[in-house]
Amino acid sequence: MIYYLLSMLLFLIGLYGVLVKRNLIKIIIGLVLMEYATFLFLALVGYKKGGTAPIITKGFEKAVFVDPLPQALVLTAIVIGLATTALLVSIAVRIYQRYGTFDIREIRRLKG
């Protein structure tokens, strides 16, 4: 229970970064933190007490395994997270080249 609450806290810290910070790189960092908190929550949900990793080895076919389904979901999501982070970073770099700042207030003012 406490683990779930702590992962929610991490998610909220990321949300704070996205909502409050005015630097584009800080906003990207907040989004990455939210991603990590989600992965953490899914991995926590699938854990089974006393279970081993879901990889069958010869002679141990009847062992107790943790849930492989959340792990499979998270595995694909991690790689997508890296690609979307790279897309955000490239857009931020283009904005810096155009306006010379990462401050989103300045970018709004210089519109048009």
Partner: protein, 144 residues
């Protein structure tokens, strides 16, 4: 990005081959041990990224490398799609595992799963390498 000193260059050249080999091992053994196409593909991309970081982005600045990475990415996803369509072509379900399963715990087993791993590894590695190389060769001119 500028290149680094001679010591770093030499060590990076020595090590990146080993990293590449390890990535291929991770991809091929994805159905037996932890790993698979995603992890192995990123490790393969990491080997190239290490080389470019040590040599500096001047050597990487040709457009040809980006195009090759793009071709690798497209062919990787095409291999995966073809393997998925294999089931439809033979008159059964999409994504059906119709190759023989083989003996469990051996390298040549599990039907189309190792082949899918190879396709995904190619796609992920080439995509991340293309992303990195586009960011690395980007020239930031003077601000407006």
């Amino acid at each position: 990005m500028k290149g680094m000193t001679l010591i770093v260059k030499t060590i990076a050249r020595l090590i990146s081959g080993l990293i590449f080999l390890y990535g291929i091992y991770i991809v091929l053994h994805g159905h037996l041990t932890p790993g698979g196409g995603f992890a192995g593909g990123i490790i393969i991309a990491g080997a190239f990224v290490l080389l470019i970081l040590s040599e500096g982005s001047k050597k990487a600045s040709s457009e040809i490398k980006k195009q090759r990475a793009s071709v690798g990415e497209s062919s990787g996803i095409f291999i995966f799609w073809l393997l998925a369509m294999l089931g439809l072509f033979t008159g059964s379900l999409f994504f059906l595992n119709l190759l023989p399963k083989g003996k469990a715990y051996h390298l040549f087993s599990a039907g189309i799963i190792p082949l899918c791993n190879i396709g995904i590894g190619l796609e992920v590695g080439a995509a991340l390498f293309a992303i990195f190389i586009t960011l690395a060769v980007l020239k930031t001119g003077e601000k407006k």
